[in-house]
Amino acid sequence: MTTHAATGDELRTSRLQLRLRNLRSFMGRFLKRRDGVLGLAILVVFTTLAIAPQLFVGPLETAVTASGMRLEPPSAAHILGTDELGRDMLNLTVHGTRTSMAIGLLATAITVVIGAVLGIVSGFIGGATDTVLMRVSDFFLVLPTFVLALILAPVLLDVIGANAELFGMRMTLVVIVIVIGITSWAGTARIIRSQTLSLRERAFVDRARVIGSNGRQVMSRHIMPNVMSLVVANAVLTFAGAVLTETTLSFIGLGDPFQPSWGQILNAAQGAGAPGLGAWWYLAPPAVGIILVVLAFTLLGNALDDVLNPKLRVRQ
């Protein structure tokens, strides 16, 4: 009995060591990618702003609590100027960070969960399930999220109503999250499926079968951990797309003026005629935010993809 326990402990220690070594080798490879590190640094800054915007700029200014005059250019009092209601642009933009990042995060979570689950199930079970799921994914793969969102979002909004709230998030935003989530999972599902197909044939899956694991156990205990790194790299790239889609949807008028995202601020700027009035300070802050965040996610995602994706990884 004692020998048995000892081997169990040994096994656990060696597994821990293996994990640590894997982590160290991953960090070593990742830190060599300067673009990835730059992306990560930018994201840390914006995430901090998104978590506690009121710490940096106070509560979100409204038409009533606006601190300046209308469309003031940048000055000492308002370093980024004001909008057409006299609200401070720095205040608006920092609060917009929170909305844009939150929508991006939630939409990415939905996309990745649907994509990963359907990808694993489709690849592992195969047969008719696989065929049906892949035909459905074809549909979503071919049709751009934006085009589908164009009719899904207003219909959902009118059915649900824009004024309700869910966990402090206005329904308009919840609808945007749902619409992005359910329309952009197909790419993730495809990638995960192809990885699952190759994992399914590996010896450890057979071994798990032999000791009596059922399909669900094999999928959750053996396949899932092995596609996780791929899921992470994919999620980061999905995030970039989700932020861009949210921006576009808000800009064409599907956003929420009471919880403004960067796209919503640009929509308001367009509505107030800011480009024609030469009010560049109204446009620049949210625009720079969008560009930096999307760029950062793309850089980080590509770096992670190179480091984590077994197909792209160069053998050393």
Partner: protein, 324 residues
């Protein structure tokens, strides 16, 4: 190209279009303001009248298959219903008025972007690690991360508002009279310039990234090594061996991306108030003009499917490896 490959692609495209029609049909029944809801909401209508009205509009028949077939029939005949907003004008006519400005803007923009973007990408990939590659790659990534309408807003602030070189909105000067066709064209051109530059710049980033990676992949192929080993000059290796092979996947991806880019590019119209599908979308969304929205959806969705099909067929025709 084997006819089986062709047949399978066409079949897939038809299935997708069928999905699109089903989605369009059921969403229309789900949303507020659909005839059935309006009919049942009014308390002053007697049961018989309600029944009569239902029979008149065909709502007494089951949703599937009767109503669905009627919907497919009218859609196939080009009847997309009547616009709520534009005084009951048929949707097909509303779309017809707005589609040409978009086709001109997007078509020219796509053309410029393909030529410039593929050229830039090929050069950057060929001189990989050089200064043009370094700058170009960085710039392309930034452009790729920028929504089209943001590019447009800044061009408008700089070149129309501040410098006054170009008009700020519309397709022609409002109320202008022209002495000749030439003058009219000039006015049109000055209105077109900034939106066109916006769409082109937005697309160039994407296309040069695609072409760059394609040429880098091709340069690693054995036949390029062979060409070099034969002692061919660099320019000939590029022109005769690397470029033609690298163009193939790049052009295909350009065709595949068409749907995504047109969806993004129509937002550039909004900034310049260009009277195309983008501005129509915003107006229809604001007025919840569902028949028009559905028309736009159908139009965009089906063109995306057809662009995909064209890309597949093109690829199958050009690349012998796909034919087997």
């Amino acid at each position: 190209m084997s006819s089986r490959y062709l047949a399978r692609r066409i079949f897939q495209a038809l299935i997708t279009i069928a999905f699109i029609l089903v989605l369009n049909f059921f969403l229309f029944r789900l949303m507020p303001g659909s005839p059935e809801r309006v009919l049942t909401r009014n308390p002053n209508i007697s049961a018989e009248t309600k029944q009569q009205l239902k029979a008149k509009w065909g709502l007494d028949k089951p949703l599937f298959p009767d109503q669905f077939i009627a919907y497919i029939e009218s859609t196939a005949q080009g009847d997309l219903g009547l616009s709520f907003k534009y005084r009951g004008e048929p949707v097909t006519e509303v779309l017809g008025d707005r589609i040409w400005p978009t086709i001109i803007l997007f078509g020219l923009g796509e053309l410029i972007a393909v030529v410039v973007g593929l050229g830039l990408g090929a050069y950057a990939g060929w001189k990989r690690g050089g200064s043009v590659d370094y700058m170009g790659n960085g710039l392309s990534l930034v452009l790729y991360s920028t929504p089209y309408f943001v590019i447009g807003m800044f061009l408008l602030v700089i070149f129309a508002t501040a410098l006054g070189w170009f008009p700020t909105n519309g397709m022609l000067t409002v109320g202008a009279t022209y002495d000749s066709f030439w003058e009219r064209l000039q006015d049109f051109g000055s209105h077109l310039f900034l939106p066109l530059v916006t769409v082109s710049i937005g697309l160039i980033g994407l296309y040069s990234i695609l072409m760059r990676s394609s040429i880098i992949e091709t340069l690693a192929e054995d036949y390029v090594q062979t060409a070099r080993a034969k002692g061919l000059k660099d320019s000939r290796v590029l022109r005769d061996h690397a470029l033609p092979n690298a163009l193939l996947p790049a052009v295909t991806i350009v065709a595949l991306q068409l749907g995504y880019v047109i969806a993004g590019a129509i937002t550039a119209e909004i900034v310049f108030n260009w009277p195309g599908l983008g501005t129509l979308t915003v107006d229809a969304l604001a007025a919840r003009d569902y028949p028009v929205l559905q028309g736009i959806f159908l139009l965009l969705a089906i063109s995306v499917v057809l662009a995909n099909l064209a890309a597949d067929i093109l690829y199958g025709r050009l690349d012998p490896r796909v034919r087997v």
